[in-house]
Every structure is written in C-alpha cells, then in structure tokens.
Symmetry: C2
Subunit: 347 residues, 2 copies
C-alpha cells in the first residue's frame, strides 16, 4: 500500500501521526506492506517552496494508491482576500488535477456525543446519511474576474451533462446499497445549471426505479437538514451548495471533530477529516485525532477495498468513545492528549 501523506497546516501533522500509528498496526496484523511518502501542501508548502500544491507533491499523489490529507489553512491569510498565493488554491488545484469529482461525507451520530449536538436529541438520535458533493465543477472552477477598473466582479458557474451524470450515478449507486432514497438538491427554479442537474437526474432516475428520488431546492434543504435529519439517506448536490450543506450537516450531530471524508478521484482518491486546521490548537497535543483516524478507515474501504481493516479501526474508535478515552473537546474534566488517544487506538 503506497500512501501519500500530506499533513498540511495547523493540527494536520499531529493528527496525521496518530492515523499512521493506527494504519501501521492494522497493516502489521493483516500482513500488508505499507509505504508512506510525505509531501508538502497548504501554508506549509507556501513557506517551503512558494506554492501550496507544488508539482512535486502532485507527482507523489499521482503515484500513490491513496492520499491521506490532514488540513490546510492559516489565519494570516484569512483577512487578506487579495493575497496572491493562498493555501486554498492548493486544495482547489489538487482537486482539479487529481480529478476528485466526488466528496463523500458520511454523517453519523455517536451516542456518547449526542449531548454535544445543538439539535434536540429526539430529532438527531439515529440520524445516518451520506452527503455527496460534486467537487471539480461549478462556480469554484468557472471563469472569474473583474472589469470596470476592478469595480465589477464576476464568477461563472458551469456544468456539463457528463459531470452531472458521473456524480449522480455515484449517488444512485450509494442509495441502492443503503435505504434506496436519494435527495437531489438544486435551485432549478432560478439557475440554468440546476435545471440541467434536474433534467439529468430525472433521466438517470429511470434506470433506478427502486430508488425513491426526491428533488429539493437548496433553501428548503438547509431547513430540512435541521428539522428532519433522519429523513435523509443519500444527498447529492453541486459544489457550492455542497460546501454549505455538508458543513451544516456535519454540526447537527455534535460530532464534527469525528467525521471523515473521502474525495473520489479519477486518478488517486484523497481521505481527510472534515474539520479544518484549527490553528489555535496546533502543536499543543490536544486536538482530536479521531476524524483523521476514521479517514484512514475510509481509505482502507474505498481505496483498497479492505473492509475488515476499516472495521478494525472503527471498532477501536467506538471503544475509545465508550471508555471515554478521549481528547478535551469531548471530555473537559479528564482529557487525554492527541498522542495518547492515537497510541490507545493503535494498541
């Protein structure tokens, strides 16, 4: 197993170490040979080589069987929207160059974390769905610029039928493996791109007669997610709506620090936690490594098709939560360190 390791910024490096501890023992147990190749990205890469996703890093990703990704972002860029070189550019370039067309986020509740949910327990308990976000198209990658001496700005949202078909098919396949319910989120009453999404979905839906396909406007979806999270099974949407809705979805369970994600690529796939680089905690050995560790579980499952290995990791995580061997975000009174939780999970 040839894994590219892009730890990135903030807490990235320290949570990555824990994931690697865990991957190592799983591979040892199961007799897999594993090779890690580290590469720079994000603000760290800007500092090192002036580019948040240098060609050398891309080459390492292309040659790997999977990419483990920590987090990127640094506060010094946040209030300078016009900075020429920014960590996010690296992320976007990585998505485009690796063809990471689908970001998959399983949203699950953990019984021991339900009290951290901002929602009423009865509404959220047992919620279990998957958000699939298109990741290489839409307004993120369309033509953008200024005119009128910089006083007019524009962004273009573009989608082709192929891009839409590819991700919708993934959505229908997931729905078939789960509870056969697909919610396609768009704004077809206003946007032309959304109308193409809805048309395409209506066509593909015919090939999946068993799937209960629903169409929902994005503003309504933002409400339904909070009011009836248990009504969702698989949700598919375009890039910008997905950015907003998947983040909304990830906080309703109270388990943001625990949620992993997979970005399925045409070349190599990338596995990363949903949470960000959390700069305030960087270097303090206090960040929760579980989302990163569960991202490694997703890697075993999706990139290597090794389901038992993924299950081993998930069981370890479940045990640490049950026994309350957790970092300070979950247990303020008797917290363990990032590195302690990592070692415990590996043990």
């Amino acid at each position: 197993l040839n894994i590219a390791v892009l730890a990135g910024d903030g807490i990235g490096p320290e949570i990555m170490q824990q994931a690697i501890k865990v991957v190592n023992v799983v591979c040892e147990k199961k007799g897999h040979e594993v090779k890690y190749t580290e590469a720079v990205t994000g603000a760290a890469a800007i500092d090192a080589v002036g580019d948040p996703y240098p060609d050398s890093t891309h080459k390492i990703c292309m040659e790997a069987d999977a990419v483990l990704f920590g987090a990127i972002g640094h506060p010094r860029f946040d209030n300078d929207p016009t900075a020429k070189v920014r960590p996010e550019q690296g992320l976007l370039r990585m998505r485009k160059q690796l063809g990471l067309y689908a970001n998959i986020r399983p949203v699950e509740t953990f019984p021991s974390l339900l009290h951290k949910s901002p929602l009423r327990k009865d509404l959220v308990e047992g919620a279990d769905f998957i958000c699939i976000r298109e990741l290489t198209g839409g307004i993120y990658f369309g033509d953008k610029g200024r005119s009128d001496n910089g006083n007019t700005a524009y962004d273009t949202c573009v989608y082709t039928r192929e891009e839409i078909e590819r991700i919708l098919k993934l959505g229908f396949e997931y729905a078939m493996k789960r509870n056969k319910k697909l919610t396609v989120v768009d704004k077809a009453n206003v946007l032309e791109t959304s109308r193409l999404w809805r048309q395409t979905a209506q066509e593909i839906a015919k090939q999946y007669p068993e799937v209960d396909t629903q169409y929902m406007f994005v503003d309504n979806a933002a409400m339904q997610l909070i009011q009836w999270p248990k009504n969702f099974d698989v949700m598919v949407t375009e890039n910008m709506f997905g950015d907003i809705l998947t983040d909304e979805a990830s906080v309703i369970t109270g388990s943001l620090g625990l949620l992993p994600s997979a970005s399925i690529g045409l070349h190599t796939s990338v596995f990363e936690p949903i949470h960000g680089s959390y700069p305030q905690a960087a270097g303090k050995d206090i960040a929760n490594p579980i989302a990163m560790v569960l991202s490694a579980a997703l890697m075993f499952e999706y990139a290597f098709n090794l389901k038992e290995e993924a299950e081993m990791i998930r069981k370890a995580v479940a045990a640490s939560l049950e026994q309350n061997y957790v970092t300070e975000d979950i247990d303020k009174t008797n917290p363990k360190k990032t590195s302690e939780v990592g070692s415990w999970l590996a043990d």
Copy 2:
C-alpha cells in the same frame, strides 16, 4: 396610505384578508385614511393573464406607498423545471423592476414557541438578530444559458461595487441601531465577487468604527447559525447565500410561520411573510396568519414610519400567543381558524 395588495397563490388570499382586517382597525383608531388596490401575481396571474407579474400589477405597485404580498407558487410547476412561464419569474421580475435591493428578516424567538425549535432551548432562547439579503444582484440575475446542444449550462454571478455598498451601508446602519455587531458573509477564499464584497466592506467599516465587523465564510456561517445563534446581531450577505442562510435561520427559532420580511425598494417596498404558499392548506381556513399580520406591522414601521401603529399590531400578536388563541400549527388540540385569529387580532 395607498397600499397595493398582491395576495398571490395558495394560502395567500386568506392570510391577506386577516392582515387587512388588522390594518383597517389600526387606521381607524389612528385616523389614517387607507386605500387598497388589488393586483394579480404568481400562478394566479399566470392563469388569469398568462404572466406572473403583468405590467398592470407593476403599475399598481409603482403607484402605491407600500405593497403587501401574500405568497406565490403552485405545485404543478415544481417538477417541471423547464416550464416556460413560472410563478417565480414574476417574483424575480417584481424584485428587479421595483428595485427591491434589500430583503430584511428579523429573526426572533417567541417564548410560547420555543418547544417547536429543532435546537436545544438553551442555545436558541433569546436569539434575536436580523438577516439582510441582497435581492437584485448576483447569480439570480446574471447572464445564464446553454451551449453544446443544451448539454452545457452556465449561470453568472455579477456584483458591482455600488450594489455592494448600498446594502452594506444598510447593514452598518442597522448594526448602529442595534448591538453594533455586523457579520458579513461571503466566500472570499474562492469567489471573485466575494472578494469585492469583502474589500468593499473593509473600506466602509472604517466609517463605522463603533461597529464590530466580522467576516465569515458562508460554510462556516451555516454552522455558526445552528451552534451559536445568539452570537449574531446583524448579518449581511449576497443573494444566493442569503436565500440559503435566511431560510436556515428562520427554522432555528421554531417560529417560521410567524416571521415577516421587508424588501426595501428604490421605488416601493414590499412586505411579505417568510413562509411560502402552503398549497396543501389553501382554502381550508387553517393557515397561520401571524407572519402576514406582522408583515403589515413592518410596513407601518418601514414604509410609513408609523412606529406606534406597528407596536399596536405586535402587541395584539403577542397577546394572542400568550392566550394561546392560535391556529393548528401551534395548538393541535384546540386550534382556531385563520379567520378567527384575524378577527381576534383586529378586536
């Protein structure tokens, strides 16, 4: 007071009747002469004259001092994204032609409705903020279309500095009258239009040194709204983000059926409930008229600068909630009819 009355579709006409009962008694008490001019809009106008916002309706709005608007939309259009004439087009055309550049939604909690909030009571109790959404620019009104035999679709998001300045100034003015905290929501790490928003906000902020101005990415805002709704005072954002976030904001309080909105216009301003046309309830005399009645209160305050009149209406609404003289969405066991609540409020 010359009021244009656009009742629209679904429950629009029956809730509008209640608002008019209330406006009538307020005007009688306070010695204002009031004149109503009815005009068609929405699906009702498509049926009547083939246009959801006909010129005759526009003329009536332009000549009025304020517009009371019910709701538009009909299910027969929902699953036909390619229908040539759609109720929403009327709404969008009205916004553009009346220059309704700012949609203002006060988000308030009502003690008697807190149990209907999907959020934990401690998080939402006392939440009180205002969302200001830009309403005549952005991706809603930019160039859109198809190419490649209909297999590629595009939408364009455009903003000019003037459009951004106009709405941001409104935001700062509201913040000055409230708790002096303004949250500007954008996606400046990805979008060029957002970078123009942020630059412009940073410039205008200098004129309001007393206001604590915060910048928040839209994905983060979608999370913060649920996790810490009490942290917001005034939020300003562009059209599409505003569509999503204001709907999200309106459900966290449990009082969606009670929230009014004002759309400030260059010509005439429009006052309407946040909720939609609720076709399932149309004609049944069961819909909650409060949001429509409170929209009339906003009209007195914003369009006529008659604050006492607005206060009279708000007091009546508060009393009906306290005494539980309410429709079935609030009290299932002993519900009153739409018309009963309207008459009670007027009395």
